[in-house]
């Protein structure tokens, strides 16, 4: 069916009172950004709904993009026809035939904005329902929870008919929840945590620690590629790589083995906080899940969290690994995450890290290194990359290979 527009219904933002205007404005902006590669489109964000006029654009491709935009409850592709009863009837019947499967029930739901229109909603429900019953053999009417709800809207500029309702991503529009820094390693958890952070409307900057030659260029490319996957939820993400080699080498020399991990994590968190302050971000997100590994016990969190009073948000805190993997598969980051490159978290992991590090000892051992000097050096060496959806980092030969295949 050739659709003329997509009707988008807002999610939670409908309930947000006086902030509603900002939310709608941000969502309109995000939708425009997500659909920027379609030239013919018009996006109108109105108080009750958002309308995407297709002007001939491929509706399936547009809807695919809309599925990735947070703040959308659901949407329906609609056909626009002239405000003439027979024309409307024909379009409603055609749509019913397209979606009908044996045994289905339906109802007609009419809204009338144009009060001058010759028929009122009751008459329209009746006339159009009758037309469907006459022309679709086997279909039955059901008012409560029908399988098929055919919605007809008589607006000033035409009649709009829609059938199916497609689930949106839910959540809040990215940007309405302020800005935070995400600690992105490249494993399975941190991309999932990023997804949940963005779903609550937070704009994220990625911080990634890079330790050549202990971690490879491929590990860095993998973290960037993961960011490109996540960028589709916000349109674009700033990727900030922080050199970490010297800090790791210094800690390895100066700190007892059982505390290597704790002190490293304290340094990472300090750096993330420093980046957040530089960029006016208000919090730190990470992919920690309580008890999953040595650094994620309550004692470890206490010993590491000690370095800052900035809020640390852990969307995966109470999730099981299997649940996290399932989401990673759904958001298409899992296959990338399991690529076997050493990352900064695994390479200097001692054989037996303390699962219950002592806060006082952590503070004491940290005195063995020059925290301020090392941090300054690392912050002077950061590199920032703007990453857009679909950017390619791991496979630089993709186009050459596409020729071969």
């Amino acid at each position: 069916m050739e659709y003329s527009e997509i009707m988008v219904r807002y999610g939670e933002l409908s309930t947000k009172g006086k902030n509603k205007k900002d939310f709608i404005k941000q969502l309109g902006h995000n939708v425009r950004k997500a659909l920027s590669s379609f030239e013919s489109l018009e996006v109108r964000a109105q108080h009750d709904r958002l309308h995407v006029t297709l002007n001939g654009a491929d509706s399936a491709a547009v809807m695919d993009r809309l599925k990735g935009v947070f703040g959308i409850e659901n949407f329906s592709p609609a056909v626009k026809v002239d405000k003439d009863l027979d024309t409307i009837k024909a379009a409603v019947v055609a749509m019913a035939k397209e979606d009908f499967q044996p045994g289905m029930t339906f109802k007609i739901n009419t809204r009338r904005q144009d009060k001058e229109f010759a028929y009122d909603t009751y008459q329209l429900n009746d006339l159009l329902g009758g037309a469907v019953l006459d022309n679709v053999p086997g279909i039955q009417v059901q008012m409560k929870h029908p399988d098929l709800e055919l919605r007809v809207e008589i607006r000033m500029n035409g009649a709009f008919i829609s059938g199916q309702t497609i689930q949106g991503a839910g959540g809040l529009p990215v940007g309405t929840g302020g800005k935070a820094v995400m600690m992105l390693s490249g494993g399975i958890d941190s991309p999932v945590a990023s997804y949940y952070g963005m779903r609550r409307g937070v704009k994220l900057d990625m911080v990634h620690f890079f330790s050549p030659p202990y971690t490879s260029e491929q590990a860095l490319a993998k973290a960037k590629e993961l960011t490109a996957k996540l960028a589709k939820y916000s349109g674009g993400i700033q990727f900030i790589q922080v050199p970490f080699t010297k800090i790791q080498e210094t800690i390895k020399e100066a700190v007892p083995e059982g505390y290597l991990m704790t002190i490293q994590r304290r340094m990472m968190l300090r750096l993330a906080v420093a980046v957040a302050e530089m960029r006016h971000a208000k919090g730190i997100f990470n992919g920690e899940s309580l008890g999953q590994v040595a650094s994620q016990t309550l004692e470890s969190m206490a010993a590491i969290n000690d370095v800052t009073s900035m809020p640390i948000l852990r969307p995966l805190l109470s999730m099981d690994k299997t649940e996290i993997i399932k989401v990673a598969e759904d958001i298409d980051t899992y296959d990338l995450s399991i690529l076997p490159y050493e990352d900064c978290c695994t390479i200097f992991t001692p054989p037996a890290p303390k699962t219950r590090p002592d806060l006082k000892k952590s503070r004491k051992f940290e005195k063995n290194i020059d925290v301020e000097g090392l941090m300054k050096e690392a912050l002077d060496g950061i590199t920032i990359t703007e990453i857009r959806p679909g950017d390619n980092f791991l496979n630089q030969n993709e186009d050459v290979f596409a020729e071969l295949l």
Binding site: S216, D335, N395, N397, E398, F401, L404, L405
Partner: protein
């Protein structure tokens, strides 16, 4: 030359051979090597895998490379038997499978597994009711082919899927070696199947390469233990030139699939409707929708299959007795036997199998030669 033996093997496409040569020359690093040269090979391997996954509507992780159809069949069957042994020892298949399936089953029988062979009707098809009746609490695997290699019968996969939906724990394997690119994607890639096996050289890729679709989450034991390639399920350094070549061959095969299938169907029917007018001809793959568009199996009463093959060969037309794998062993067709076809007529069976490059002109030439040979064969009767 008219080549009508595409179910035996196909000619590797020039573009495919070109890819094979370029990859051999330029990307010969080991995909498991850590250095950049290995990394390039790895990226090409995964891009090939992604292309195949996209073409058949699967996920990247659901595509596993094998050496071909025989390995795929052996793996789906024995790999399931090994992985699910604690849940039961009963396997179900059909009486008309390729020897790669049949003989794998027989091997497992010797190890103590129980095997049920489902009977087929006059068109070489099993019934879903028979399948349902055969399922036991100890059944761990059902293996059914998509298209029979000897007569082209398409198994009732939609009905089988309905039965299998009631038994979600049983593995279901489809041998789709003869079914790819023949307009049967909806039947083969249904929402229930767990394993589907393919062979590259049946669709213009090189020999020695194939792939398996494995539904995410289904468990299978590796038959090739070793260095852990293919997600630890099929070890052995990846045959990258052949894999890339196969990805290309599959893309070419599935481009304009519907039009190609329609052309093969028309050619098949042009021959079928011509030869069925002769009194001593028996057609096994009839003009019915349950037969694949590219295979035609028939017999000329009183003439041995190999005689017919060689007679056509003299006219530069290449056909085969019912299956290339058994044709040199002088055994009658196992599929025709399972269909209870009289042995006398079964030994006279030959098979025509088409690809997307065959033409209607070739069909007309075949029919002309057929008339001539039919006259000659009259002397034998």
């Amino acid at each position: 030359m008219i080549y009508f033996d595409n179910s035996a093997t196909t000619k590797a496409a020039p573009e495919v051979v070109d890819t094979y040569a370029k990859v051999s020359a330029n990307y010969w690093g080991n995909p498991s090597s850590l250095h950049n040269f290995g990394e390039q090979a790895f990226n090409l391997l995964e891009q090939s895998r992604q292309q195949i996954a996209d073409l058949i509507g699967a996920k990247l992780s659901e595509i596993l490379f094998t050496s071909g159809g025989t390995e795929g069949d052996n793996w789906a069957i024995k790999g399931t038997a090994m992985a699910k042994r604690e849940f039961g020892n009963h396997l179900i298949t059909t009486a008309v499978e390729h020897p790669a399936v049949h003989n794998s089953m027989e091997q497992l029988k010797q190890l103590g597994f129980e095997v049920t062979y489902l009977p087929v009707d006059a068109n070489g098809r099993v019934s879903a009711d028979d399948l349902r009746a055969a399922i036991r609490p100890t059944t761990i695997l059902v293996s059914t082919m998509a298209v029979n290699n000897e007569i082209g019968a398409v198994q009732p996969l939609a009905e089988i899927a309905d039965v299998m939906r009631d038994f979600p724990k049983i593995h279901w394997h489809i041998d789709a070696v003869q079914g790819i690119g023949k307009g049967l994607a909806d039947l083969i890639f249904n929402d229930r199947v767990d394993f589907v096996t393919f062979s590259g050289h049946k669709f213009h890729a090189p020999r020695g390469i194939g792939f398996m679709y494995k539904r995410q989450g289904r468990k299978i034991a590796p038959l090739m233990a070793g260095g852990g390639q293919e997600r630890n399920l099929r070890s052995g350094t990846e045959n990258l030139p052949a894999i890339a070549a196969m990805a290309k061959a599959l893309r070419m095969l599935l481009t304009d699939e519907a039009a190609k299938v329609q052309r093969q169907r028309e050619i098949r029917l042009a021959i079928l409707h011509h030869i069925e007018t002769f009194a001593h001809v028996t057609i096994f793959s009839k003009d019915l929708p349950v037969f694949a568009p590219h295979i035609l199996c028939f017999a000329i009463e009183g003439v041995r299959g190999e005689t017919i093959v060689h007679a056509f060969e003299e006219h530069n037309i290449y056909i085969s007795t019912t299956s290339a794998c058994s044709s040199k062993k002088h055994v009658e067709s196992s599929t025709l036997q399972a269909m209870s076809i009289d042995e006398g007529i079964a030994t006279s069976a030959v098979r025509i199998s088409l690809d997307e490059h065959n033409t209607m002109a070739e069909a007309e030439e075949f029919n002309r030669v057929f008339d001539q040979l039919y006259q000659q064969f009259a002397k034998l009767r």
